[in-house]
């Protein structure tokens, strides 16, 4: 069971993902151009291939982030926060309502995650995303720098235990890759086979399962 949780597009992209032997995708809209109607349109249930909808939040500062999380949390299955700014990274790791923190290393020389952020992320079960799209599009020294940022994130993952997710951040069919190829690539930058498989199968499922339970605070669930 393989899932790709960061795909920008429409049902054509989802069909291609199904052809590449994924079992589900999450179609993500940007918070800058969000339409409620599209979110309802694309949710289909087609045999064993599921489509979820999500939103990627672009926030200017932590207060802006909190407002947007509050706004979108009830409407969408999956919440992704666009990382890169250290204050946003920190605010996202400290918020249990956030599902995924995408590319915390964007436009940075270090990896974006240190031991403080890693501990917060593992307490609040925020998944850190390793995006394959930037690996594909860069060359030479920026690609080497990206690989060392990935290694740093994996080192923190082994020590602190936050979930990792690998996704394609695809905008067209040319950005999608098959799940087995992604596992092979993950082994090249330091993950074990089990860690890589977990990142594209078990961790996405955990996110969905967690969101089905209506949680107020950790340990308190609303049943009805």
């Amino acid at each position: 069971m393989f899932f790709d949780f960061h795909v920008h597009g429409d049902s054509r992209l989802a069909l291609e993902a199904r052809r590449l032997e994924y079992n589900g995708v999450a179609i993500i809209q940007s918070s800058k151009k969000y339409s409620q109607k599209k979110s309802v349109e694309i949710k289909e249930f087609d045999g064993d291939f599921r489509i979820w909808s999500g939103v990627e939040i672009y926030a200017r500062n932590p207060e802006d982030l909190k407002k947007k999380v509050k706004k979108f949390r009830d409407k969408e299955d999956i919440l992704i926060v666009n990382g890169g700014n250290l204050k946003i990274n920190r605010a996202a790791c400290e918020d249990p309502r956030v599902d995924i923190l995408a590319h915390p290393y964007k436009n940075r020389r270090d990896s974006g995650i240190n031991h403080v952020l890693a501990k917060k992320a593992s307490e609040n079960e925020v998944a850190i995303e390793l995006g394959i799209a930037s690996l594909i599009k860069t060359r030479l020294s920026s690609r080497a720098r990206l690989l060392s940022q990935f290694r740093q994130i994996i080192k923190m993952h082994r020590k602190f235990g936050f979930p990792t997710i690998i996704s394609s951040n695809a905008y067209s069919i040319y950005d999608l890759r098959t799940p087995r190829d992604i596992i092979a690539l993950a082994r090249c930058f330091g993950m074990t086979v089990e860690e890589a498989e977990e990142s594209i199968s078990k961790n996405p499922v955990n996110i969905i399962e967690r969101n089905k339970i209506n949680t107020v605070v950790k340990g308190v669930n609303i049943i009805e």
Binding site: L86, K87, H115, S141, A144, L146
Partner: protein, 125 residues
């Protein structure tokens, strides 16, 4: 805003390579960075170069009679020192002119690298 420094147990192990570079035209730090990265990427590849944690720390210009000589310190991972030294050895050209890199020594701290290998005789750093 910078990330807080990792505790000592989680830090990567480093070594500091002192090198000197003799060239026909003057080099500065940016030139050294681009040559070292380019040679390492061509020789070892992107995946292996990402393991080195290469960082050109500082470069000093040395007074010399007929050549342009600079000395500097490169930071790299402790396990990959030999690969970095090999990549430094293979640098031969810059902008069509000849250049050569020698490693003067390796040490565990910046201070001892400067003291042992970068001897400044009445020079302003």
């Amino acid at each position: 805003m910078k990330l807080k420094i990792l505790p000592p147990t989680l830090r990567n192990d480093k070594r500091y390579i002192s090198f000197e570079a003799i060239s026909e035209i003057p080099l500065n730090r940016d030139d050294v960075i681009s040559r070292v990265w380019e040679t390492s990427l061509n020789f070892h590849g992107e995946c292996k170069t990402s393991k080195f944690d290469l960082w050109i720390m500082k470069v000093w210009k040395i007074e010399s009679i007929d050549n342009n000589v600079i000395k500097g310190i490169i930071q790299c991972s402790r396990n990959e020192v030999n690969s970095v030294r090999a990549a430094l050895l293979l640098i031969s050209k810059f902008s069509g002119r000849s250049v050569v890199f020698h490693t003067l020594g390796i040490s565990g701290t910046v201070k001892s690298a400067i003291k042992k290998f970068i001897i400044i005789e009445n020079q302003h750093k």
